[in-house]
Symmetry: C2
């Protein structure tokens, strides 16, 4: 069996309470006994029992992060950055995957809540409307929640994200000003958080130039992943009126579209341009470096962790923290002037 505090106390002939105080470096113990206890702990290989401590203190010094998945480098970089910041704050990060399911997201949230995490960060799933069960869970949650990268429209919450509308607008405007006209926008289902704002940006860029936008030029995907973008683009390129440019909702999809362009024997960007969103590291090393909109992940991580810690330290309910930071257009070879 593992060494417990009781073992230590017995071994040293002192009380368990004193051992606890000594080990946690609290006041009320003489330096001598403190040292004695700590030495004994080391030599007997004592390590605190996570459950016992959690049960007694009702807290875990842990922050929960929920992301849809971690294969998309945007999420892995976000995860990585957040982990470092959380660790630096003296807490542990515990990671959960929602797997793009709102229900799973809620399950994980509840699991985290039962672990008495200090706070929860969630990067939302690509869904249009939350369920009332979900909203109830969030509303009645005792632990602070902050959304990162996007948020849900149908209830108020704290969030940190880039201004997706702006990013999308400037990207679209960039293409239009470069002479592209027949642009296809590969986005998510209507109302999906990260799609909707970007779609507005897309539309306004057209509107501002007084150009009309064929509605068919907005194609909705379910999974916002490499494969689906690849498939959709392949089909697209077989149509009679091929697009001259393709914009996607994230870089991974852009890379998928790019692959499809190549496999269709077309030149990029001569025959068709491609642009993405996120600026994940692989975008710069793609066969044709990708024009995209940078989400400053590091900064988003920093702001969201800071905000969450703030929400945690303020005991009382307060108005939500809502931060939108400016994205940055990154021009590369995948969208040269026509």
């Amino acid at each position: 069996m593992k060494t417990t505090m009781a073992d230590l106390a017995k071994h040293l002939g002192i009380s368990e309470a004193t051992v606890s105080l000594a080990l946690n470096d609290k006041a009320g113990v003489s330096p001598r006994t403190k040292k004695k206890v700590q030495d004994a702990a080391k030599s007997l290989g004592y390590t605190p029992n996570f459950f016992a401590r959690g049960l007694a203190t009702q807290k875990s010094s842990t922050i929960g992060l929920i992301v849809p998945e971690v294969e998309n480098p945007f999420y892995s970089k976000l995860t990585q950055s957040i982990e470092e910041l959380v660790r630096a704050s003296g807490r542990h990060l515990i990671l959960g995957f929602s797997d793009f399911s709102l229900e799973t997201e809620q399950e994980v949230m509840e699991r985290f809540a039962n672990m008495n995490v200090d706070g929860i960060m969630v990067s939302p799933v690509y869904i249009r409307d939350t369920t009332s069960a979900y909203r109830d869970a969030v509303r009645t949650s005792k632990v602070p929640i902050i959304y990162v990268g996007a948020y849900y429209y149908d209830f108020p919450s704290s969030f940190v994200m880039t201004n997706l509308m702006d990013g999308s607008f400037s990207l679209t405007e960039h293409l239009l000003s470069n002479g592209y006209r027949n642009i296809v926008f590969l986005c998510g289902q209507e109302g999906v958080v990260i799609s909707k704002e970007r779609e507005i940006g897309f539309r306004s860029a057209y509107a501002q130039r007084g150009l009309s936008l064929e509605t068919a030029r907005i194609i909705r995907c379910d999974k916002l992943r490499f494969e689906e973008a690849f498939e959709v683009t392949k089909k697209l390129l077989l149509e009679e009126t091929k697009p001259d440019a393709i914009i996607t909702v994230n870089d991974i999809m852009a890379l998928g579209a790019m692959r499809a362009v190549r496999e269709s024997g077309l030149q990029l960007p001569k025959d068709v341009a491609v642009a993405g969103y996120d600026d994940v590291i692989f975008s710069s090393i793609a066969e044709v470096p990708l024009t995209t909109v940078r989400q400053p992940v590091q900064e988003m991580a920093q702001l969201s962790v800071d905000s969450l810690l703030q929400l945690i330290s303020e005991d009382e309910a307060r108005s939500p923290i809502q931060l939108k930071i400016s994205p940055q257009l990154v021009l590369r070879q995948s969208t040269l002037p026509i």
Copy 2:
């Protein structure tokens, strides 16, 4: 305060023990009370307290996974795959990062052990020798540990990995047979697990052809990451006897080398070829698709989870499970015949 079992018991006028049995769907409760309890639980919004349960049962239905980081897509894909399998086995995955530090790896292992995880999977850090403290921790661990992707040489353990030597051998042989002679191998520090075997493969390919190998052609890197490979390659290409091919220990480094080649104004693979190891998804969409050695991550995940579950179910100590699976050479444009 959150609803507890005591609340439920009081509310229903029955004992806490019965509530526990009912909620856990155990035998010894009448269907009627069981239903009653479960309904009450739902309506009062009861959720079990993770700590209390963990403390009482001494188990957590959790598996711990430790990876160095998650930005390298090899690790993120591994993490993703393992998570799905673990979830399918009815347990939770808890993830920890070693951040390439053996000490951190050990800390996380101990944290997991204190959480009474059912088992631990670890993808080792790039280090030559483990410390005796580390080995002690592993040896005395009550919870089964399995290494994934590599293992440590200096003590016996269970592991699942690809045959790195074979992979490296066939990759090198491929280059030699294509006419490349001045090959540089970017590997890790001497004795580092994932480097050593690959170095042996590299050397034997030369040996088999009776070619001698200038020792200078093996360059040791500390961080096996994009940036370092980039820097090292840049310098390399300024030397008088430029290499005609560069092999790296993983794909991320290969992509870094590739970028350096491009920025040096050289043609790839005409002036210098590049090959990697892992076959992460981005290797196929790189500016020049990368020749590499595929590690079947899915299969490794499956085998390692299966093996771990097996170690868990067998109460008694048994001889370690050690699986080496065959890697597969993937030829792409980054290493065309000279």
